[in-house]
């Protein structure tokens, strides 16, 4: 089976909410969070999806 979608990275302000296999980026401020997310989006050709205000994931579609 081919996996069509994959979470490439998790970017968060609150490390207590995440764990697991994907690379996790912990940021201090909302600005930093958005910056890091935008960069990873551009680098990986993925899409940044927001799960909450302080938790973003980058998904390859």
């Amino acid at each position: 089976m081919m996996i069509e979608k994959a979470i490439l990275a998790i970017i968060t302000l609150d490390p207590s909410k995440v764990s697991g296999g994907a690379p996790i980026f912990i940021c201090k401020t909302k600005d930093e969070l958005e910056n890091v997310a935008a960069n990873i989006e551009a680098i990986t050709d993925g899409i940044v999806h927001g799960l909450s205000d302080e938790l973003y994931i980058v998904v390859k579609h």
Partner: protein
């Protein structure tokens, strides 16, 4: 020269002319240039020649000559393959792809146009041999009109109502009217989408249409046609900026999210309305016997 020379030449001429008339470069942008056109005109010429030769062959009691028609059928099926392959190859590099259903539709119509040419040439030659040139020309014109009617499918505005609706975000979720489209996390991207995006809602006019427009190929065809006509605000490596169509599961309406370069609501509505209803997407549940069968009343 035999007595059949003029009828055959006439048939070939009429057939080739018909192929040229049917070969117009329209909003589908295909075929665009001389090379593509040359292929189809040459094939049309061959089809016309085959069509014109049948009656003279039969009249000269050369019955086995008709078997050449089987060669013709193989030949034109090949046309369909050729179109399909070319379009599939090219499709990978489109910013908004055509989709397989649309490609299949184009390929089928290219094949069937050759058969129409063959039938027209056949009839034109037949009538010329039976009567004279003038009546043959009239017959050819009638064939052309019939071909025109046969080749014109319906378009989207006949089966759906198209309305412009504003896009809005609920948290990270992008909505067209009340139809959820996708999740966009970055505020920066959200701003871009609000700035460049447009939303439309397609409301199906009846039961059959609900199934037809839910077809993924039909939806892709809408996106492709609009992106060709109005341009598209995206690039490779920006998957967040992707025009997309989602369906309202409750009533079968479609929420169309577009990123056109030319932001003109009326033009966009007109272009969506002119998207062909793809042959392969058409479903007619109301024609099914089971669907129309009345449920027997429970009397006990």
């Amino acid at each position: 020269m035999s007595e059949f020379t003029y009828p055959i030449l006439f048939g070939i001429l009429i057939g080739t002319l018909l192929r040229i008339i049917m070969l117009r470069t329209d909003y589908r942008q295909y075929p665009t240039y001389l090379h593509g056109k040359t292929i189809h005109i040459s094939l049309g010429f061959i089809a016309a020649a085959l069509g014109s030769l049948i009656i003279p062959a039969l009249l000269s009691k050369d019955y086995t000559a008709v078997t050449i028609l089987t060669v013709a059928a193989t030949q034109f099926r090949e046309v369909r393959n050729m179109e399909r392959n070319t379009l599939n190859e090219v499709d990978e590099f489109e910013l908004v792809s055509r989709g397989k259903t649309y490609i299949e539709g184009i390929a089928i119509s290219f094949e069937s146009r050759n058969y129409l040419v063959m039938i027209t040439s056949f009839i034109a030659t037949f009538v010329y041999i039976l009567t004279n040139l003038i009546i043959a020309i009239i017959a050819a014109i009638i064939c052309y009109i019939l071909a025109k009617i046969l080749m014109s499918g319906s378009v989207l505005k006949e089966v759906v109502d198209i309305e412009y609706k504003d896009l809005h975000f609920d948290g990270a979720g992008l909505y067209v009217d009340n139809i959820y489209v996708m999740n966009i996390g970055l505020p920066e991207r959200q701003e871009e989408i609000m700035k460049y995006g447009m939303g439309f809602v397609l409301t199906p006019k009846n039961m059959n249409t609900i199934t037809t427009i839910s077809n993924l190929g039909q939806r892709q065809a809408i996106l492709h046609d609009v992106s060709i006509a109005l341009g598209v605000f995206r690039d490779s490596g920006t998957p967040a900026l992707t025009p997309i169509i989602k369906r309202d599961l409750d009533d079968g309406r479609l929420g169309v999210f577009l990123l056109p370069q030319v932001r003109d609501v009326d033009k966009a509505i007109e272009i969506i309305g002119k998207v062909p209803v793809l042959e392969n997407a058409i479903r007619m549940p109301s024609n099914s016997k089971a669907h129309n069968k009345e449920v027997p009343a429970n009397d006990d």
